[in-house]
């Protein structure tokens, strides 16, 4: 029943989409002053239909309706309700339906929120957005229909993959998609504003909200993915430069650049073309992310079912959209009026340009690292992978100038600033950061040369952003985000420099010495829990003054046979102690990995600060002072 409901709602939504495309195209070419009432009506119908479709899939998951193939493949009656619901978007078909659902909801909100805008601009935004929606509808109906039925109806589903049962992973895709889909509105709106010629400060104020919303969701989405990898995968890291991770980071760089550029557009009415280019690029990168992940073209540690025909569809669709936007860009470029403006080197505009340069540089590095293996394989057949050293070698040296710029760029004035007289505050802060870094660095014998300026500068920036809370005139949201960012950089650097680990094969009763601690494997208890066998190890870590216990676990699931390691992590404000073990051949040895990771929790906290700053800016209505 829910299968038919879901399926036919999608067809009705497609019909609505086609109608809206034609209608908005025709109306945009006529000189209508007002938006036809039908638009709101038909868009509402479409949104309702897609909502119905989405929730009928959710319902099928909740009641474990195995006559639905998607449910059969991805759910199981024994799953907790929470994971049944999250299973809806934990698979290819469902995640696309979620994409579509968010797309239509966002367009609806956009219509409600843009009453004061020019009619032609609104019509064109509807047109482009409906092109995207119809593309997704056709894609879903042709290649990835989540409402395929099975007969005879199986008695039990297959989806009990324990690795995927994690709260962070359950909400990670929807949050990330909210970010991705938000960029589609920016894309459609910037193309529309280009054609209708209303691009300028007023438009910037209107679109800034969407930029911020997408950026906040994308930030939090990336954070959740990273948290999942750290707690669930048990590799003891939060970022692996895996292609699937990279594709979410690339639009983030682009969107961060856009976030800053759109402010220039709003305040100074310049950077118009660049804003459009960034909007197009951001959305293209979000779509490419979907393409790269869903087509199976990537060699990633995260595997997804792949199907070339799906890849072909997304690829073609993506290129049609890019082609369309390039055509629109080139043929409407003359409509952009860039009034001659004076530019001075020392100004906020330049600082934002520099910010954009860095974002584009980071983006290019990640882009090359991600797609180079695909290109090389096609061109000469060699199989390669690009490892973390590639990214580190290219990104870390550039952090030094980046940190310097970020420490003074945000406080520059618009149009023209003067070199200030020697500022004692700055000197004091710099000396304090030197002192702190000295104390930190004496505690380690790190031979990495760049680490000295990096630590000094990141601590300096951290202190500057704290100082800004008291003296700077900029908005509170910017202060919070910038503070969060400097905290993130500092935590990542210190974490990277001071993390250490040992790997060993241990038998019960063995002891190893690590970081002046004694690590002892006391026992391993084997028990049968619901649907898996549990091997719970008990480790004791003793140092001079104190001791604590860690209980990592290995779970062996049958049907299908899956082994997972549950790390045990002792978290304090200063450091994480991470212990994970694994079974080897049956001769009593266990493979043990113990990691000491300082400031781990601050990586999560600082990212929340970054996102919170953005959120505050969305909520606060009169965020004019920037």
């Amino acid at each position: 029943m829910s299968n038919y409901l879901g399926n036919y709602s999608l067809y009705i939504a497609l019909i609505a989409s086609v109608y809206l495309i034609f209608k908005s195209y025709l109306d945009a070419n006529s000189e209508n002053k007002y938006l036809d009432k039908n638009f709101i009506l038909i868009t509402s119908i479409q949104t309702i239909m897609i909502t119905v479709s989405f929730f009928s899939l959710v319902a099928a998951f909740v009641i474990s309706d195995f006559s639905n193939e998607t449910v059969f493949n991805n759910s199981h009656t024994l799953k907790p309700l929470f994971y049944k619901v999250s299973g809806t978007w934990g698979n290819h078909e469902g995640s696309l339906l979620l994409w579509l659902f968010v797309l239509s909801i966002f367009l609806f909100i956009f219509l409600l929120n843009s009453r004061s805008q020019d009619t032609k601009y609104k019509l064109l935004t509807i047109l482009f957005q409906q092109v995207i929606i119809s593309g997704f509808l056709v894609f879903i109906l042709l290649t990835s229909n989540p409402f395929k039925t099975l007969y005879p109806i199986p008695s039990e589903g297959l989806g009990l993959n324990p690795i995927l049962q994690d709260p962070a992973l359950a909400i990670h895709p929807p949050i990330l998609y909210l970010g991705y889909v938000g960029t589609s509105i920016i894309f459609s709106a910037s193309l529309a504003s280009m054609i209708s010629g209303n691009i300028g400060d007023k438009w910037a104020r209107h679109i800034k909200k969407w930029v911020l919303v997408s950026w906040v969701f994308l930030t939090i989405g990336i954070l959740l993915g990273s948290i999942w990898a750290y707690y669930e995968l048990g590799w003891g890291g939060f970022w692996f430069w895996d292609p699937v991770e990279n594709v979410s980071l690339m639009p983030w760089f682009c969107l961060t650049a856009l976030l800053h550029t759109v402010i220039v557009l709003q305040k100074r009415n310049s950077f118009k073309e660049w804003t459009i280019i960034l909007s197009i690029t951001t959305f293209s990168l979000s779509m490419s992310g979907t393409f790269l992940v869903r087509s199976g073209i990537l060699n990633s540690i995260h595997t997804f079912a792949n199907d070339p025909s799906r890849g072909l569809f997304i690829l073609s669709f993506l290129f049609i959209l890019i082609l369309m936007s390039i055509l629109i860009f080139f043929f409407n470029q003359n409509k952009i009026s860039n009034a001659a403006k004076e530019n001075f080197i020392l100004s906020k505009e330049t600082a934002i340009l520099v910010n954009n340069w860095f974002m584009m540089f980071f983006l290019s590095v990640v882009l090359v690292g991600t797609i180079y293996p695909i290109f090389l394989e096609v061109l000469n057949g060699s199989k390669i992978s690009v490892g973390p050293p590639f990214y580190h070698n290219l990104l870390i040296p550039f952090l030094i100038p980046f940190l310097i710029f970020m420490s003074f760029g945000p406080s520059l004035k618009w149009i023209k600033d003067k070199l200030k007289k020697f500022n004692y505050n700055i000197l004091i802060i710099f000396l304090v950061s030197l002192l702190i870094s000295y104390v930190i660095l004496t505690k380690t014998e790190n031979s990495f040369l760049l680490s000295i300026p990096l630590i000094v500068l990141s601590i300096y920036l951290l202190l500057v952003t704290i100082k800004d809370f008291f003296v700077s005139r900029s908005s509170i949201s910017q202060k919070i985000s910038h503070f969060g960012f400097s905290l993130l950089i500092t935590s990542i650097l210190l974490n990277g420099l001071f993390s250490n680990e040992f790997n060993s094969n241990m038998k019960v009763g063995d002891e190893r010495i690590f970081n002046e601690n004694v690590v002892k494997l006391k026992e391993v208890n084997v028990t049968d829990v619901d649907n898996y066998k549990s091997l719970k190890a008990s480790f004791e870590v003793t140092n001079k003054n104190s001791s604590f216990a860690l209980y990592p676990e290995v779970r062996i699931y049958q049907q299908p046979l899956t082994i997972t390691s549950e790390a045990d992590i002792k978290t304090t404000l200063f450091s994480d102690n991470f212990l994970v073990f694994n079974i080897l051949k049956d001769d009593g040895y266990y493979n043990v990995r113990y990691q000491y990771k300082p400031l781990m929790i601050w990586i999560w906290i600082s990212t929340i600060f970054i996102g919170f700053g953005g959120l505050l800016s969305v909520i606060r209505k009169n965020e004019q002072k920037y």
């Binding site: 199976g296 073209i297 390039i326 096609v378």
Partner: protein, 176 residues
């Protein structure tokens, strides 16, 4: 003028990227290959699904003709998809031996009783070791094995399609 050049340049780059990605899509990501193992070790013993009796694998094969071996599991969705084609093969009086891969016998029996049983015999491979002998890594996979030489004549990775049926029939006729 320079605008047109810029435009064409961009267009050309895009097309090149498109073609490369398109080719990248078709680069094979199959799970295993045809020449992984060419001969089957027939001395293996295995348990039957329906009778719990332990037999030697060689007993399953007809020495004078070729047989089809299909590796499947009730939890595998593509297996469900290809099942109709296996039933068609059965209707053509072709001998199909099933290897039930990492499955529970209960589920496997339910699967066969609801969709039909195309196999002349099903053996149990609860830990995946027997399938490895065939060089299989995932499910479903289908092999054509010569009864005379014990050699793998042909291997299909992933679910069978309608086109494969005719090919299988011809191969069996040729190697009869």
């Amino acid at each position: 003028m320079s605008k047109n050049i810029k435009f064409l340049g961009l267009l050309l780059t895009l097309i090149i990227i498109f073609i490369i990605l398109l080719k990248g899509l078709n680069v094979s990501k199959d799970y295993s290959n045809e020449k992984l193992k060419s001969k089957i070790d027939f001395s293996l013993n295995a348990k039957k699904l329906f009778s719990d009796e332990i037999i030697n694998i060689s007993d399953l094969f007809d020495k004078n003709s070729s047989s089809v071996v299909n590796i499947w599991a009730s939890w595998c969705a593509p297996c469900r998809e290809e099942h109709q084609f296996l039933m068609k093969l059965k209707d053509m009086n072709i001998n199909i031996i099933g290897i039930n891969y990492k499955d529970s016998p209960k589920n496997a029996k339910i699967f066969l009783s609801s969709l039909g049983n195309p196999y002349s015999e099903v053996i149990i491979d609860n830990d995946g070791t027997k399938s490895i002998e065939f060089g299989a890594i995932g499910v479903p996979e289908t092999f054509i094995i010569s009864g005379k030489t014990n050699e793998i004549i042909k291997k299909y990775i992933g679910p069978l399609t309608r086109e494969n049926l005719i090919e299988i029939k011809n191969l069996l006729k040729k190697n009869a």
